[in-house]
């Protein structure tokens, strides 16, 4: 089954009648996933959106509970449920993988995050393979393929002027019913993508686990600004902080993204900070991505999307770090 590229607009229009369909779009110079509407600058040709799709499931600011005192002097707590039926349309294999990783964090090992779970259940994922990865893409080195996305409900394989459509899950199969009018039962040549940037990730997590005290951290952390750019554009960074806004005897508790790059992130009462300097913070970020997560979930937390490589104001480049570690004799 294929869908012609020039039919995509019509498809989105139809889908958007029932659900909110998030598509990659260029808004005000920033590319991100936005709800489809007429006139939106939809861009399936971009390699990766600047902002990852993670806030569909894990918003930057998410209201959790409302609470307060009742007139009788008792208390009440109400949980928010702002989840809705959504389609994530046009996500790339690396971002698809990131959702898989977030699922591990928020749904496994005995911890289930209700807010994440509610939205995750209502999310349909439609992935498009990458025919021409960007110069900063390195998913293949991280064990992914630009041409596959096993976790997607529906997979669109990029061809010359169409996509080859495959439902990969039951949910996807069911969803395709709405697509019927736009699909054609023809064959098309799939354009395979290949990342130009290749790293040697072999053995890196094992080496890293022995490099906690290595001088490399001093060296690379000095130029880091400790801003949150890399963590906020990262599709897999999932740290959050819980805060509240109180009004008299009522309040709202919400959580919002936090960044391990911020000194405040680990600041404790009485000014104690177990990660007092940039070195500890930078080390933690990379260790978490490439080593600690692996130890806990058996997967690497970096999907090779290249966003941090592109966005870092000081070009502190994770790919160089991986290469350097790979080359070191730790």
């Amino acid at each position: 089954m294929i869908i012609k590229k020039d039919r995509m607009g019509a498809l989105l229009g139809t889908l958007a009648q029932h659900k909110t369909v998030f598509v990659p779009a260029l808004i005000d110079g920033v590319s991100k996933f936005a709800p489809y509407r007429e006139g939106l600058d939809v861009r399936f040709d971009l390699h990766n959106t600047k902002l990852p799709p993670k806030d569909l499931l894990f918003p930057q600011t998410q209201k959790m509970y409302r609470y307060g005192e009742t007139a009788e002097g008792g208390h009440y707590v109400e949980q928010f449920d702002e989840s809705s039926e959504r389609v994530l349309f046009g996500v790339r294999p690396c971002d698809m993988r990131s959702i898989n990783l977030l699922d591990d964090v928020f749904l496994t090992k005995g911890f289930v995050d209700e807010f994440y779970e509610a939205q995750r259940k209502k999310l349909l994922t439609v992935c498009i393979t990458c025919a021409a990865p960007a110069e900063t893409c390195f998913c293949e080195s991280m064990g992914l393929s630009p041409n596959e996305a096993p976790d997607a409900d529906i997979l669109l394989k990029s061809c010359e002027d169409c996509y080859k459509v495959t439902a990969q899950t039951q949910k996807g199969e069911a969803a395709l019913a709405d697509w019927r009018d736009f699909l054609e039962d023809t064959q098309a040549q799939v354009l395979p993508g290949k990342t130009s940037l290749r790293l040697n990730f072999e053995g890196v997590p094992q080496k890293l686990s022995r490099m906690y005290e290595d001088p490399i951290w001093d060296e690379i952390s000095t130029k880091c600004l400790n801003c949150g750019t890399c963590t906020f554009v990262c599709p897999t960074c999932y740290c959050f902080d819980i805060s509240q806004e109180n009004k008299m005897k009522e309040g709202v508790r919400f959580r919002c993204w936090d960044s391990c790059m911020f000194s405040e992130y680990t600041a404790m009462a009485g000014w104690h900070n177990p990660r007092p300097t940039k070195k500890e913070r930078v080390r933690n970020r990379f260790m978490h991505k490439l080593c600690f997560f692996e130890e806990r979930y058996g997967k690497t937390l970096c999907v090779g999307c290249g966003r941090c490589v592109e966005c870092c104001p000081v070009a502190l480049d994770i790919t160089r770090l991986i290469d350097d570690i790979g080359a070191s004799d730790a």
Binding site: K223, C227, T229, E245, C256, P313
Partner: protein, 285 residues
């Protein structure tokens, strides 16, 4: 430029080997074409990695602040670096004897993908270092190709509602990564007001109101000390028009209290908002 690069490498090596400085701050090549990244090293061998080309986009001037524990450091400084250093010195963040400034004239830097002159460099009025201990090569005396306040005047000319929409939209895009703050040589507080949860200056939630609070307060905090290096705008992943806010404050100080440009020399007067004149403009009667 390749001459300068050679001179940089040999000077850096000399300085480290002689023990005159304990670290050198410069640039090295990145992985990608026309990409550079700051290089901060104490190893003489690594000085051979130093580069200087038209893509050295980072203002290195704030790094001496992070290296105070190292003792004396050498830094390659163009106009923006030198003014950042003056900013740090005036704010007593670093000591003059701990920084050895090697001046380099700057022809203006370019975007690595488009090859165009960076906006901050087009607006730059002091490409050449304003203080240095030694100078490598000749000053470039590159003129600013952008009128200093053209952007401000353009925005001011918009109807109020359009200005509101323009900035509301900008604040709505902000992801509060604080790259603008962390790169800014004026931002040297031990703890930023945004991190002071107890005082509750602003909430952590990302919405336009809080983002506006952050954005405008940042301007009030740095505006009168801004060196106009434009790094905040360059590093912003959301491309917010941050310099149009900073420069607005400078523009008004200029108009209200007389020609104003900070961090051009070590003995500059106190910043405009920490001083006054009895006969200042009066419009609140």
């Amino acid at each position: 430029m390749s001459d300068i690069q050679e001179a940089m490498r040999s000077r850096a090596k000399e300085l480290l080997e002689s023990g005159e400085v304990n670290a050198v701050i410069g640039w090295e090549a990145g992985r990608f074409e026309n990409q550079t990244t700051p290089l901060i090293t104490s190893q003489a061998a690594k000085t051979q990695r130093l580069v200087f080309n038209e893509y050295c986009v980072n203002n290195l001037g704030k790094y001496p602040r992070d290296l105070t524990a190292k003792g004396k450091v050498a830094i390659f400084a163009r106009g923006c670096e030198s003014r950042a250093i003056i900013r740090l010195l005036s704010d007593e963040v670093i000591k003059r004897e701990n920084v050895y400034i090697i001046g380099i004239g700057c022809p203006g830097m370019r975007d690595r993908t488009t090859g165009e002159l960076l906006k901050k460099c087009a607006e730059c009025r002091h490409g050449d270092p304003v203080i240095y201990d030694e100078m490598l090569g000749e000053p470039q005396a590159k003129p600013a190709t952008q009128e200093r306040f053209a952007e401000i005047q353009k925005i001011e000319a918009l109807p109020r509602a359009e200005r509101e929409a323009y900035f509301t939209n900008a604040f709505s895009k902000c992801i509060r990564c604080y790259a603008c703050r962390n790169v800014c040589p004026c931002c040297t507080c031990r703890q930023c007001f945004v991190d002071q949860r107890r005082e509750g200056w602003l909430g952590k939630q990302n919405n336009i109101a809080e983002n506006r609070f952050y954005g405008l307060t940042r301007v009030m905090h740095v505006g009168d000390r801004c060196i106009e290096c434009g790094e905040c705008e360059r590093v912003c992943p959301m491309d917010l028009p941050l310099m149009s806010l900073n420069r607005k404050v400078i523009y008004d100080i200029n108009n209200l209290f007389g020609e104003y440009e900070t961090a051009l020399s070590l003995d500059e007067p106190p910043s405009a908002l920490t001083t006054y004149k009895v006969d200042d403009v009066e419009e609140f009667m």
